[in-house]
């Protein structure tokens, strides 16, 4: 049952040291505010799961929260590399991290399999791909009907999934629209689900019947954080702050500049700053 909580309490009650956690969002609706709260609470030894670990995982890795990262594309989308993640992989700074790498197709289907209660995902993939040689989780099965060899990987079953969405109803049902990514699957695959939303509305009556909705009984906590996806965006509310993504390339290039930025903008800030950050993007 969804409980309305402050972001602080939603994170504290649902995210624990050593958890496997997904902060999902495919360019759109990335839960930045929730990730910053996890950083402030100093949660340790996380296994971070995400198709596209971008700035928030760069920040979490750079702050030493992660032990392991499971991913399919580790870049600042359209800009370049993730410099803090690279520093961890190439120089074990601030600590070494284990990486498990997949393709997008595999990751999306591993969430889907998790949401379906299946132990693995099966698909026609990884043919000729080098990842098979370096990721022991990529195996194959023979189709019992045709004899075709298909790729198989374990399903994703995170301890907790964090997502950002447009709206919650007063009951705690959650609505997502626009680029819906893999959030529904990531939420339904998880043991616990925390959602940050732009706003709460009385009900979803009268809306289009095929909108993506997570019923309140699939969700553990809802926290209202207007602007909580910034510098990612929320369709219908504010645009992507592409300038901030370009700027991150410079901030993250230098260990000291990174620490100073995190100190000023995350450690000494709270979720209330996000509403101002999106003011000019509405």
């Amino acid at each position: 049952m969804a409980e309305f909580l402050s972001l602080h309490d939603a994170v504290q009650r649902n995210l624990r040291d050593g958890d496997m956690v997904a902060f999902e969002g495919f360019t759109h609706l990335i839960p930045h505010a929730a990730a910053h709260e996890a950083i402030r609470q100093g949660i340790r030894d996380l296994t971070l799961l995400r198709m596209t670990p971008d700035i928030i995982y760069d920040q979490m890795i750079g702050m030493g929260l992660a032990r392991k990262v499971i991913f399919s594309y580790a870049g600042n989308p359209g800009v370049g590399l993730l410099r803090r993640m690279r520093d961890a992989i190439e120089h074990s700074y601030p600590r070494g991290i284990e990486t498990v790498e997949h393709s997008h197709s595999a990751m999306a289907q591993a969430y889907e399999a998790g949401a379906s209660g299946l132990p693995c995902a099966v698909f026609r993939g990884y043919k000729g791909a080098g990842l098979k040689e370096v990721n022991p989780d990529i195996k194959s099965v023979i189709c019992p009907f045709t004899g075709e060899e298909l790729a198989a990987i374990p399903s994703h079953r995170p301890d907790v999934t964090f997502i950002h969405a447009q709206k919650a109803s007063e009951k705690g049902d959650v609505l997502i629209e626009g680029i819906i990514g893999v959030q529904k699957e990531a939420a339904l695959a998880a043991k616990r689900v925390v959602v940050t939303v732009e706003e709460v509305v009385p009900s979803f009556k009268g809306l289009h019947p095929n909108l993506t909705i997570l019923p309140h009984w699939t969700i553990d906590a809802v926290a209202v954080v207007p602007g909580g996806a910034h510098p990612s965006y929320t369709y219908g509310y504010y645009a992507r702050d592409n300038a901030a993504y370009l700027e991150w390339d410079k901030i993250s290039a230098d260990r000291e500049a990174f620490s100073a930025w995190m100190e000023a903008n995350v450690l000494n800030a709270g979720p209330e700053v996000f509403v101002q950050r999106v003011e000019a993007l509405r």
């Binding site: 759109h28 791909a129 300038a243």
Partner: protein
Amino acid sequence: MTNFTPTEMMTIAAARALSNDDVCFVGIGAPSAACNVARLTHAPDITLIYESGTIGTAPEVLPLSIGDGELCETALCTVSVPEMFRYWLMGGRISIGFLGAAQLDRFGNINTTVIGDYTHPKVRLPGGGGAPEIATSCGEIFITLKQAPRSMVNTIDFFTSFGHGEGGDHRQRLGISTKGPTLLITDLAIWRPDPESKEFTVRSLHKGVTRQQVQDNCGWPVRFAASVEETPEPTELELGTLRDLQARTAAAHRGDAR
């Protein structure tokens, strides 16, 4: 038009390879520019698909990422990411996959994963994203990149996505039924795989480019077709369309258009 850069020639030559009937899975960067120039010139009905789930998108400015709001707002429809990969890509609905590359070999195998050893990389690159299955599920693959000896190499450090492997019938031997790389467009030339060996062979040189320049900017011994043509230079319409698109894009990404 005689006043154009090699990169502009590359983008326009790549755009010309696309047609109105194509359903194209678009990689970010150079492929995205080429696909949208095609849409804005000779192929207004081309279906552009980005891996964020946007089908039939027609962005006014080039997206910085594969999931900018612009892509969804201008799309025919937007589906979930699992649906995108399962039904549309792996279901065999895409005719052309358009990829860029950090490292490329003569058989169209691509590396965007690591430079150096996988476990102790010299440079950790972003990784494959959708590419491993794009490379094997789309009807055929077009590749575009700027030539340099460090990007067009004899041996790639990692097989992010499979092209023609060791050449010849290597794809068929792995049970892959799609064509794989059929076209490479660089800032200097247009290449196509040899029908038998599958090695990329220069078929057309861009205006003013010499064979020596192509070789100097390529890490393997370049093969040239028996008759090498000259790529027609950009028309006024093509160049104007590309430059307008890039100007709108730069303004939007700086944040002064929204």
